[in-house]
Symmetry: C2
Subunit: 275 residues, 2 copies
């Protein structure tokens, strides 16, 4: 998917919501556990109930790997289902990978070719040659961790490096890499005041924003400081939507939660762009 | 496996070699491609030929994920084969994972419980709560990236943070985390002169050292500056051993290469410890 196609979808759906498919067998409705592939059935129901309200789905690979081969099969079925039924949806493999060059190429092949995701999240610690192999794929997107939403973000990401926080150094340096136009960045909503500074470094890039809702971040604050002329934000919600109910009505309740967020987003878009 | 059991094995085998099982279908002998699971058959042959010369095997997960579900099955069969046939071998899932707390727990479950690896590599960028869930597993080991062997290591890892390079900050901070005695660190052999400084911060920890051989690092230099009283090093070699031949004699030639390294290690151990 091209960036323009993503922007078009945001305008059509009046939504920049990303639904995180972080499926934990201990949290999904009990009645699904009797089915052959509870994880896929859960995802399928969530997708069927929310696809018109969201522009993106983001399975976190950890939740699938935890169930071994079965989990990997559920992941494959989930991405295939999205790509077949809703090819307009921007898919994110939240994998936070990164390794030396030839090894990163294997990861890129895994997520972009074998699984056909539109994008994958990567970690920056190993530098340029660990990220560039991902950037080489046309119309695929590499979403690099910049400033994450967790407490540990303050351990290293905000350390002062020659007068500038490390995450700013990461943002700035990444712009010099080959095919850097294929980069997006993870910036946590819990740090809304940081968005002003971040937008000075990467004004045009899409930012994937976790941490709204469950982790305490505010949608309006993030939009105030982080939005650009193409919206430029994907706001992720996982637990707040998919686990809003663990009864037989889970998909319906998930839809209601997604709708609330979409309506808030529609209002923000209409105020900002006067549409 | 306990750290003491690993040390005992190093003494028994007079080896601190780790063989990297980074299996690329384009590089393995052609005759294996006709078999049902070429990746597992390749690993099995390498393991059968080298298990008495090495104390550790390290499959890099990227090479398995690149083949999707099939690859994940090959990884499962490989780790099961090692654990059943050679339970004395220290196994490393080279996965370089790391995510927010509850998600890192899922990764830990995947590698320590579902796949039964002794250890897993992790990336430090997301800080304390992204690593501690791995450290909570008893007799399991978490090998954190400190200073990697690739060129990109100089992009961020060696940046000056308050008068100290970032990787030193990472080493120092990690020692304050809960169950930090379960930490080991990745330090590239291509930077042998850095080992002196690193040993001042983590004198007792095991260091997993990639980059000897193919990437140009010197075994004797690494040992000179990096060895501690328990050896404290695992020297990884992947391509130099497993792809030494791509003919039908590949396992035999891999053994010959592993033997060369083991003999060099035996000499270093006997000089250092006068045994």
């Amino acid at each position: 998917m091209t960036t323009q196609q993503l922007i078009d979808q945001i305008k059509i759906k009046k939504s920049f919501l990303c639904v995180g498919l972080d499926v934990d067998l201990n949290k999904i409705p009990k009645h699904l556990l009797e089915l052959e592939d509870p994880i896929f059935e859960f995802n399928k129901a969530i997708i069927d109930a929310t696809h018109d309200l969201t522009v993106s789905y983001k399975p976190n690979t950890a939740f699938y790997e935890a169930y071994g081969i079965k989990g990997w099969i559920s992941l494959q079925k989930t991405i295939n289902y999205i790509n077949e039924k809703h090819p307009e949806i921007f898919t994110i493999a939240d994998a936070k990978r990164g390794d030396i060059g030839n090894t990163s190429s294997m990861y890129a092949k895994a997520f972009f070719e074998d699984l056909s995701f539109d994008s994958v999240t990567v970690a920056p610690y190993m530098g340029k040659d660990s990220v560039e192999p991902f950037l080489a794929f046309e119309n695929k997107h590499t979403i690099m961790l910049a400033l994450t939403s967790n407490e540990g973000a303050f351990d290293f990401q905000t350390l002062n490096v020659d007068g500038k926080e490390l995450y700013k150094q990461v943002l700035g340096t990444s712009k010099t890499w080959k095919n850097s136009e294929n980069l997006m960045y993870v910036v946590g909503a819990t740090k809304a005041e940081y968005f002003t500074e971040i937008r000075k470094i990467v004004p045009h890039s899409f930012l994937l924003v976790p941490g709204v809702g469950a982790q305490g971040g505010s949608l309006s604050e993030v939009c105030k400081y982080g939005m650009n002329d193409n919206v430029g934000l994907l706001i992720n919600s996982s637990r707040g939507i998919i686990y809003a109910s663990n009864g037989t009505d889970f998909a319906e309740v998930a839809r209601a939660e997604a709708l609330k967020m979409q309506q808030e987003m529609e209002e923000i878009i209409s105020l900002k762009f006067k549409v």
